[in-house]
Subunit: 327 residues, 2 copies
Amino acid sequence: MSITSKDIARICGVSRGTVDRALNNKPRIDPKTKEKILKVARELNYRPDLVARSLAKGETMSIGVVVFDIRNRYFAQLVNAIEKEAKKYGYLLNITLQEKDPEMEIKLIDNLVARRVDGLIICPVNKSNNFEKYLKNLKVPLIVIGNMVSQDIPFIGIDEYQAARDAVQLILSKNYRNIVFVCPPLHDKEKENIYSHEQRYKGFTDELEGKYIHYEIIDNWDYINAVDKLLPNLSEKTALLCSGDTFALEIMKHLRKKNIYVPNHIGIMGFDGIDILDYITPRLATVYNPVDTIGVHAFKNLIKLIKGEQIEKQVFIEYKVLEGESL
Amino acid sequence: MSITSKDIARICGVSRGTVDRALNNKPRIDPKTKEKILKVARELNYRPDLVARSLAKGETMSIGVVVFDIRNRYFAQLVNAIEKEAKKYGYLLNITLQEKDPEMEIKLIDNLVARRVDGLIICPVNKSNNFEKYLKNLKVPLIVIGNMVSQDIPFIGIDEYQAARDAVQLILSKNYRNIVFVCPPLHDKEKENIYSHEQRYKGFTDELEGKYIHYEIIDNWDYINAVDKLLPNLSEKTALLCSGDTFALEIMKHLRKKNIYVPNHIGIMGFDGIDILDYITPRLATVYNPVDTIGVHAFKNLIKLIKGEQIEKQVFIEYKVLEGESL
DNA sequence: TTGAAAGCGCTAACAG
DNA sequence: CTGTTAGCGCTTTCAA
């Protein structure tokens, strides 16, 4: 089919070893033969077969990425950042989406490992000790983003707990007396890795502890309805702290339909700082999660792991609480 | 390092050929030996090396995707759709971003081909006959999305020309007497593939031809300023038709700052129908581009090409003109 | 400086 | 039904 190094060797009347030396800038080769080989290679438009190279060298120069879904702004931004960084180092990304399906996640990781990716970056939906063991058994360099699996597996993210506390403080500073935390179901926590939401939840409750502020939790996929039920009896100035901007946006959209105004009737704050907030009015207060930085950092650390260097097990990137018009 | 089929053969006291038959459900093997081999494989947690398999079989079960950027909603949705479909068939995606850099695009495609992807899906930024030749020379099954390269290279998209005409009709039906088309620079067209914008531009002008409606074109990255200059002297009811929702959103954001109201002061319409429009008020009128369908279709056609089947060279997917509150 | 040979781990073809 | 062999295209080692 296409032209191989063997062909070039034959044409130039040299051995494949020599061709290899010429093509890959290796020492111990006569500049003249090198020149000739390169010329022929160019003329014939030779392209090394990277699959064969991978097999021979035991490295694929590709890294596997497993995330929820890239319709999700957060992951789109993340993957975008990782790809840009990876390109610089000649790495290719294998991007796969587990769609929050734990079994799917395992399948995808298995597949990536079977394809001999040099490393993995995952935002896992699995948790438990079994999963931790599973990951360790892979013997593949691995970075976890967002949902921590264990103290022992390299992680990069923000301090969600403290971020939630800071968010609550911002809300309190605006004189809200009733705060509602909106997040995905927390009771599934045995099955699904919802580390970040749990951390935020803990931060939320801890910060309000003993403060004589009324608060409640909506941890329910039907949160729109739950918010609806809340609305008629708001005796105090109320704000919703949403564990994810998308929840906040959905709620705002719903409230708009009902002609309930933010922040006049009710305050809202999000989490993550996804880029589309730029286009939304009122500007949503949120906790900005520097996802690009996280992506780049994750990739850099992964490279270190691949090279056998040491890295910090837990990296917490600085976040930022952003005021908006929604509080 | 990890366990190979050779190890299994040795342990089971059979040949590698037999192991292969057992592991890959091939005929001509005694159920008992098969059973034994499978058992050992399971116990040893054997995983076939897919790199080696690729080399041996001459197929990698992976396909390369080259798009602009996945911060861009359009591509995020597209890639998401392709990935979901690919997974069903056991294919893995190699996703790369050319960031509208023509040379980068070539590099990325070269790399993907060298990695022996079984097929390519690209939304090219390159154009010209040279590029067409280049693509044909690759001898790799290929589908082009969005920016057509030539009649001869399989393409999937919408009929941008007609869509633009339909959009203009919608605007006219709302009694606008002055229409401005906003799009990226058209004068670069020698260098950059801006097929879709050109088509829309043509549809726009053709539809207004002879209609005694005033219109102008802003094809300028500094379109915000250009719009600003327009504003003071709007004697007639004016609408902007933006060749991309993002342009429209940026403009709306800007107008909001200046307290200019849409659609009262000026009408706006977008193009693409990206998902985040759900969260934006006023609801943007747009041309809905069924990007998921396009992604799925592209992948299916690519598979056909890989299998050597015939496909239609040009596929036009149905679009939809969506009314909104912005006109 | 160059060549020859072995090997990466798998599949495929043929012979038994 | 099973084993043997060759080969995918590259890298690497050792010898010349």
